[in-house]
Amino acid sequence: MLVINGPYSDSEHEEPGHPERPERLVSAMAGVEDLHLGSDLIVAPTYSASRAELVRVHSGNYLDELGAFCYSGGGDIDQDTYATMDSWAIAKLAAGAGLKVIEELQRRNDGVGFVAARPPGHHALADRAMGFCLLNNVAVASAELLSQGERVLIIDWDVHHGNGTQQIFWDEPNVLYVSTHQWPLFPGSGSVSEVGGRHATDRTVNIPLPPGATGDVMRRAIDDIAGPVIDTFDPTWVLVSAGFDAHRDDPMADLRLTSGDFALMARCVSDFAPRPGRVVMFLEGGYDLDALRSSVHATLSAALGHSYEAEAPSNGGPGTEHVARMHQARRLAIEMLYASDATETT
């Protein structure tokens, strides 16, 4: 059973020529329709996140400024990010979508969730929009689960590092943030040595991959580096920042993944959930419309346990040698953090 939220009628959040465009949702939903789920497809109700739900992860000043900016007509927020007069309302719907999917999964105690909403969210900081993102959708959903006493694993396989999500939960011990991303690349953060704050050491796992890296390298890094940390953390929910711009056809970056790789990743992250009804995928990036459709199809198919002949998984790209070095660099960063803590204590 697939529980989705979206798509919304969001053509009002659009800037001519911009790659983060309404057609992305059409492609993502075509990927959902390709599953032919019939009555196993549940559409959760539309919901606009409340201020109380948003201020768990964003500053009140920022929310006021963003709302005022949109109401005054919008415009370019930075060199990448835009907002229109309607973007404030649409962004709140995108932020609220995950909340309703979670509610529905909890009610049914079964299924996989998919949030087909835009604008994406994982670059949005507590007090700043950036990287096409206005509100951090996955963070708003995580904060709700935290308020219920859950331990949340966020897996972010978008090709760009989710700096906003990392910043928001930097010092939160009940959130484990794991990101695979191309490096160097926008936003410039996401090095292996970023391991979390003093109260959440080892709760951030960054896996930067070189341009040209393939799915086999990503899977090995998840197994070798993130796997043991996830096992120790023992999550009760798994939320996925599912960007599909690491696909080899995507124009925004240079990784070489296929839809088959996303299927394998989906199967892998589903195994981290303690039981059915505890995995939600959030659409982040993905700008080649065909790749987006096939990747959404493959990902959800795998998460649901269906058989689907996706593109063959990729392999043979660079980065295998990085994985061993990443492991050592992480250990060193954690030891240094503990050592500096000990020095300050004495």
Partner: protein, 140 residues
């Protein structure tokens, strides 16, 4: 106050950024400081490859010549990230800027809002002194 040794200037190719660069060149010439001109490579730039990290834009060389600034004291840095985040990193190694110089934009119909103005965002969050150089179109 310690003497100025390194000015970092944000540059996006706009006329206002050029005004900030001129101000930095003039100040550095008087103080003997080096100038690091930094360009933030955003998401969209990946589609267009606007600025190369290996080559100083001709417009900057022309500005240096116009300001009679010795290019041996000039560094060019292209960093991944949004403009605000990249500029805020300039106070840290390896650049270790003493002062951050930015052009003034985002004024007008949304005066007072941080959103949409890199210079105001930088001023809000910076941990080092920031010089905001007024636009040529600024009105008193």
């Amino acid at each position: 106050m310690k003497p100025l040794q390194n000015l970092a200037v944000g540059y996006d190719g706009s006329p206002d950024a050029a005004i900030a660069v001129r101000w930095a060149f003039g100040t550095a010439r008087e103080t003997g400081a080096t100038v690091t001109i930094v360009h933030a490579t955003g998401l969209l730039e990946h589609l267009h490859e606007r600025f190369s990290p290996d080559r100083l834009p001709p417009a900057l060389l022309a500005l240096a010549e116009e300001c009679e600034f010795n290019t041996s004291s000039l560094r060019w840095l292209v960093e991944d990230g949004d403009a605000c985040s990249v500029l805020l990193r300039m106070g840290s190694p390896p650049v270790n800027a003493d002062v951050l110089v930015v052009g003034s934009r985002g004024q007008g119909k949304r005066v007072g809002l941080l959103i949409g103005s890199t210079s105001l965002e930088v001023v809000e969050h910076a941990t080092l002194p920031v010089v905001v150089v007024p636009s040529s179109n600024a009105t008193p």
